[in-house]
């Protein structure tokens, strides 16, 4: 066997590809819906917290800042292990996918809150004054005037963060959630071949490349406009 054959047999074994394709498709689907749930939870919670912080209630803001700092400081894997292996000790047992969604969703929320907040604080004071001077209430001014401008500023960093955290669904493999990486490494240990890992890599590219391209488009668009 020459070098190229060995390379192909190791990483691109067609027989193994065919055998594990159904499992891998199921894994892809799991990764997609997990990522979707994480993004939905993370963005909505992050946005809600940033809005709440805009009201300037001291105590609420204090807790929001603590939440955002903790969420950004702690490695998600640590939280996942604590929730999956630690909480059952207190009688609280949650299924792996739920743990993954809760942890990654709150971590994304911590980042999203900071990004939305940075967007809100960079909306000029005059915009608020124009809104309030025309009889709009605080909430109306926030929703109609400040948020749309903040969201525009927040979009590029937000998409990057969403991408980074969606990929962390691979951490599900340590708590038995059968997403892409989990399927791939299980197959790898059964077959002793690296081919399933290649399959996993291809699957990740197919799932996440469109998001990466979207990020690039957004960056280009915003670089032109602002």
């Amino acid at each position: 066997m020459d070098g190229l054959d060995r390379f192909l047999a190791t990483f691109f074994n067609a027989r193994i590809f065919a055998r594990y394709l159904p499992d891998m498709l199921a894994g892809v689907w799991t990764t997609i819906w997990l990522a979707g749930a994480v993004i939905a939870l993370g963005l909505s919670l992050g946005l809600a917290l940033a809005c709440l912080r805009a009201y300037g209630w001291r105590i609420a803001s204090f807790f929001i800042i603590c939440f955002a700092d903790m969420g950004r400081a702690l490695p998600p894997l640590v939280l996942i292990l604590i929730m999956y292996f630690g909480l059952p000790g207190l009688g609280l047992r949650m299924p792996g996918p739920l743990v993954l969604i809760l942890v990654l969703g709150t971590v994304l929320a911590a980042f999203a809150e900071e990004i939305f907040w940075a967007g809100l604080t960079s909306v000029p004071k005059g915009q608020w004054e124009a809104g309030r001077a025309t009889g709009l209430g605080f909430t109306q001014t926030l929703v109609q005037i400040a948020l749309p401008q903040a969201a525009r500023l927040a979009l590029p960093p937000l998409v990057n963060r969403v991408l980074a955290i969606s990929k962390m669904t691979a951490l599900g493999s340590v708590i038995g959630v059968s997403e892409i990486l989990s399927v791939a490494s299980t197959a790898q240990s059964f077959t002793g071949s690296a081919a399933p890992l290649t399959m996993g890599a291809i699957a990740y590219v197919i799932v996440f490349l469109p998001l990466v391209v979207l990020t690039r488009l957004l960056e280009r668009r915003f670089a032109w406009k602002v």
Binding site: G126, Q127, E129, A133, T134, G135, Q140, Q144, Q149
Partner: protein, 246 residues
């Protein structure tokens, strides 16, 4: 003098230790245009911003058509603000919506007009400031003078009883000032009550009913423009005017 539309009574404003307004008393009659001049830092903007409580007065009363705006609840304040139009030096148009949407927003959200009604009114106001043909443009595509006229239309669309202007032309290139002043003159001729902070002396002479000179948080002197400009009585007014003219 006919019934005042805007009345400022014993207005005081302090920022921490800094006393910015001390006992300001000013009445603007219905349909009157009053010009406020004075050196930088004399409290002109602060006084204007107290008139719709963008700045919270420390003490005193602000009466709009007889109703006190100081000390009313926040929902009542939002209603009162509809009666006081404000035009800023920096325009502050909403950059994420079209010109016509800028003029419609508060009509729909604060005045609860229907979309169609708001749109019709917005187009009429844009027509009035000569910008109906730019209704679907984004504000940033417009010149400063055009943006300021849209800002005036945005305020007018709410049918205010008083219009406040804070240096409406001082952020504009000289050749664009005229178009904004023309709109203000037209507004004055249609009977709008206006309180204007501005150093456009030529315009004041032509259009203002009264000029108020402020310094150090006080009204130092007031009178018809000819009188204030030709023979100011107070020394501080004289000094200020000679500095401005120089």
């Amino acid at each position: 003098m006919s019934r005042p539309m805007l009345e400022i009574v014993a207005l005081e404003k302090t920022f921490g230790e800094l006393k910015v307004l001390r006992d300001i008393n000013l009445r603007v009659a219905t349909g009157e245009m009053v010009f406020v001049i004075g050196p930088s830092g004399s409290g002109k903007s602060t006084m204007l911003r107290c008139c719709n409580r963008l700045e919270e007065p420390t003490s005193g009363a602000i009466l709009i058509d007889g109703k006190d705006i100081v000390g009313c609840s926040s929902s009542a304040l939002n209603r009162m603000r509809l009666e006081v139009g404000m035009v800023f030096q920096g325009f502050h148009l909403y950059p994420h919506m079209t010109v016509v949407a800028n003029v419609m927003l508060a009509q729909i959200k604060a005045l609860k007009r229907s979309k169609d009604e708001a749109r019709e009114r917005a187009l009429a106001m844009l027509d009035r400031v000569g910008l109906r043909h730019r209704a679907e443009t984004m504000p940033t595509q417009l010149s400063g003078g055009q943006q300021q006229r849209v800002a005036i239309a945005r305020a007018l669309a709410l049918d205010p009883k008083v219009m406040l202007f804070d240096e409406p032309t001082s952020a504009l290139d000289p050749e664009l000032v005229g178009s904004v002043l023309a709109v203000m003159k037209d507004l004055k001729d249609s009977g709008m009550t206006m309180l204007v902070v501005s150093h456009e002396m030529g315009f004041a002479r032509e259009a203002a009913d009264r000029v108020v000179f402020m310094d150090g948080g006080l009204v130092v002197e007031e009178g018809p423009p000819e009188e204030i400009f030709a023979n100011p009585k107070a020394e501080r007014t004289q000094a200020f005017l000679s500095r401005v003219r120089a």
